[in-house]
Symmetry: C2
Subunit: 381 residues, 2 copies
């Protein structure tokens, strides 16, 4: 059996995407390259559900997050950063690092952000220039209601920057309808492509803000990227193989249909939840409505180190993710995004049961999780 990557990025890569990278490379300053990059850029707009341009950076998602701060704001400007975990905290770090005046709205890990809290801070603070929000928080599995936050910003000129690095394609995301000015994603999550690319959508409002920013940018200059986007070019040498791979992945996504991709992820989330419940395990995200379809985070049973669960599962050929920061060892995270299907969930629970049993967690009937998943599968044919 092929090793299984049930992690929230990098994800398992479809064969066609892998083989694309093994092809002879072509030079990027050619029409052939430009045609493919143009196609990718259009595909990204389709996935982001936006009419605005989506630029592609050669970097991880963090590079794009930092670039959103340095391209769209000026030093001293007031912004509100909403954090529900590790990656929300990264926005706090980045905005502070670059000299913005940061008002934080932070939540306990595992809880989602409340729109009324943003309303309250907005009523107290004057001259807010931007709001930063995480769509899906990879560290906990919490999904924020981006749409509700966007509604609050209607009628204002406040920039809405949303990290949907692990959110998009496993959860509904509507850039324009939700009034998102700058949406950020990465190649190694829902896009089923290896890491190395970040995607950034820019509304007119974001593009206007970009012109006024006083921070220096060269490699990450959004303006330079936008300048060359229409001709299918990049300001500096792009990660050509990854761009071609991402384009093939987008073709697969379009073939499956974005709605079907979303439905598949929702189903995988349901199956995983059934398995977890059948094993008597506890969800880290208490409120089921706050859980995304990207991953399921689970509290390690009493006396069991979450890292051990990961380690033993990896030895059996299934890689899941551990907890981050304070939650290292306390939770484990089962990713179910990218090129995965229901059989991968079956395999994952077969291994999880075995590993938990080995670690002396035996509060379940052997096979219970597989039975629960199987029942759903057969009753929903």
């Amino acid at each position: 059996m092929q090793k299984l990557l049930m992690t929230p990025g990098p994800t398992t890569i479809p064969e066609a995407v892998k083989l694309e990278m093994a092809k002879d490379i072509i030079h990027h300053r050619t029409e052939e390259y430009s045609e493919i990059f143009k196609e990718l850029s259009e595909n990204l707009k389709c996935v982001f559900k936006t009419k605005n341009p989506v630029i592609t950076l050669t970097s991880s998602g963090t590079g794009a997050m930092e670039a959103s701060v340095t391209n769209l704001f000026s030093k001293g400007e007031k912004v509100i950063v909403i954090s529900v975990g590790n990656f929300g905290n990264r926005f706090i770090q980045l905005t502070k690092l670059h000299g913005l005046d940061v008002k934080e709205i932070s939540y306990k890990w595992g809880e989602s952000a409340k729109p009324e809290d943003l309303k309250k801070v907005l009523s107290e603070e004057e001259d807010v220039k931007g709001v930063f929000l995480t769509h899906h928080e990879t560290s906990s599995g919490v999904l924020n209601d981006v749409s509700a936050f966007g509604k609050i910003l209607e009628g204002t000129e406040i920039l809405f920057v949303v990290d949907s690095i692990s959110g998009i394609l496993s959860n509904e995301f509507k850039t324009d309808e939700w009034r998102v000015d700058c949406a950020i994603s990465g190649s190694q999550k829902g896009f089923m492509t290896p890491p190395g690319l970040a995607f950034v959508s820019l509304s007119n409002r974001a593009q206007e803000a970009m012109k006024k920013s006083d921070m220096p940018n060269f490699y990450f200059s959004f303006a330079k990227h936008l300048d060359r986007l229409a001709e299918g070019q990049n300001p500096t040498t792009p990660a050509i193989t990854l761009i071609f791979a991402a384009n093939v992945a987008c073709q697969l996504i379009k073939k499956e249909g974005i709605d079907n991709v979303l439905k598949r992820h929702k189903k995988l989330q349901i199956l995983t939840a059934l398995g977890i419940e059948a094993l008597g395990l506890e969800f880290f995200v208490k409120n089921s409505e706050d859980r995304g379809s990207t991953l399921t985070s689970v509290i390690a049973p009493k006396g069991i180190d979450g890292q051990e669960v990961n380690k033993l599962m990896q030895e059996e050929g299934v890689t899941i993710a551990g907890g981050q920061a304070d939650y290292k060892g306390k939770i484990f995270r089962i990713g179910h995004l990218g090129d995965v299907n229901e059989l991968d969930v079956i395999v994952t629970f077969s291994v999880l049961e075995k590993v938990l049993y080995k670690l002396n967690y035996r509060e379940f009937e052997i096979g219970a999780s597989l039975k629960a998943i199987q029942e759903y599968l057969i009753k929903n044919i």
Copy 2:
């Protein structure tokens, strides 16, 4: 026949490197990944000829050039930037953009930098914190004598930052012996790997300067990269497939032997020069000692658009590079670096003769370039 990439990056990729990227991806927060990344980091030290750490960034070379400015210097510090072309000019742009006090030493494109000019400026300027130099200038094919500049800096605390993005592996480069504090390279040149990675060596002096810099860095923070280097990890998600590909490429380079790789490139340079002379064409770099073994830049014959030469050659399956900036259309550049050999040069000249003939440049005996190359090959068996 496979299409031939005679460009100064991206270069033709060896089969083993291409196939490496088509393998199943693994997660980067695993021991398996760390082992490979550690191996790559050691291989890079070997190629850079340095005892200092070499960090790997997910970005193009420009990203690393910008990062060398923002990590190693503070605003207002005085630096000398030596430019012999497009990429030297990029260092001027980057240092100015980030608020350094920049003293420029610029040369006409096609000429190499003179060590005595640096000596002179150093004697006139006080408190110089850094010197920026391009090893091999990709825009013109000029090779600078890094060693001679390094000697001038002996006994000072001035940081020596060298862009060897297209220089290393096709031309001798000795980081430590030449007193280079920060050497920069990229995956898509001598490393025979697709673009997307940049490599940066950091001397103790550079690491000390890093601690004093007042500029904000997160994604490109050298400190964050150094912190995790020993454990074989990266601060954010790295371009995993490219890292594995670069490691396989380094294995191939070590197998061939770095000295043999350099000799091969020197030979390709000689063969290309013989071909150019046999066609009665003019070198853009007048002084033969100033030419690197990365590429050969050629002045387009009178009345012929250099871009046309490129275009027609590409139609015949051989991609070369055009002129940049003011030299667009005026020169063309034949890359001979990476996974190329003497037969690739033969093929290139077969196509070049044909294309020049088509464009009505006929100041040569048909087959003259092939004959000249062939004579060298047979007499040097």
